[in-house]
Symmetry: C2
Subunit: 175 residues, 2 copies
């Protein structure tokens, strides 16, 4: 947890200049109705507490996955994006997303999650905007994902198109 | 082109033991009707002549892409699979595919191409079988791709399912 140690051991006024992988978004800018005093911050730092991440995924009802494999997936993702609620000197992981990529043409976004307590406040949109901004800054032209039926409309509002020109997302299952 | 130098400078009987990323499939096993004497071989070697790859992609009418970016994409793909026709001591690149991955859960296959002269001989299927075997050997459980409309049925015969459980492949376009 080197990142947070750095963040909380320095004064607020200097921390942002010392941590390059950190970006703050005020509750208002993120479109959230959180009580004033809370801040919503985003990071691409990969030094994530895997148990805290598991807790977040549990909260939305995902099947548990071996932490050894989650660790490997995070290491080998092109982008790892986290969203945090910061209140005083406490921080809480409230959102996560990651992307695989060839670092040149394509990126595919996986494992987008926002804690239920923070849903319907525009924070999913804020997280996705952060992810897209990061991918575009790396000159990735083709950003893709596989959306569960109940979030297809959400991604549509973000500018994603389902089956463009008849292109079909397909999953392989052994015969 | 270190791989092929090694391959062709050693006798046939020892070459396969010296090159680990090389796998041979007889024309018959690959389901091809190529004249006898030809062999179809597969490799995961990344030391590909980018001009030869561009020629292959030109042959199927793909838009040209900057070779600098193609090189980067190959370097950062999880798997790069090539298919070659070998006749005597000549070899010709006749197929290509690659996959991005988080090295743990997901892989996405991109840029599957078979030279028009070698299509409708079961070689696309042989190439995909080779790719799937390699991905499965790395314990990747979720293999995905985005299929153009005219190849959706081809991938169906390989065990791919479009929109399973209503999951939609989506592409992002800037507003």
């Amino acid at each position: 947890m080197g990142f947070w140690k750095t963040w909380f051991s320095t004064s607020d006024s200097t921390a942002t200049t010392k941590t390059t992988s950190f970006e703050e978004m005020s509750a208002e800018a993120a479109g959230t109705s959180s009580p004033s005093g809370d801040r919503i911050v985003f990071s691409t730092e990969r030094d994530i507490d895997l148990y805290e991440l598991e807790e977040l995924c549990d909260a939305v009802g995902w099947s548990r996955r071996p932490l050894r494999k989650v660790k490997k997936a995070i290491e080998h993702s092109f982008l790892v994006a986290t969203m945090w609620q910061v209140r005083g000197n406490q921080r809480r992981l409230i959102g996560f997303a990651r992307a695989t990529s060839d670092h040149a043409f394509n990126a595919t976004i996986w494992d987008v999650v926002v804690h239920p307590d923070f849903q319907s406040k525009g924070l999913g949109k804020a997280l996705m905007k952060y992810v897209l901004k990061k991918l575009r800054s790396e000159e990735i032209s083709n950003v893709t994902l596989f959306a569960d039926p109940h979030v297809v409309d959400f991604y549509r509002t973000m500018g994603f198109v389902a089956d463009p020109e008849g292109i079909k997302g397909m999953f392989w299952y052994p015969h």
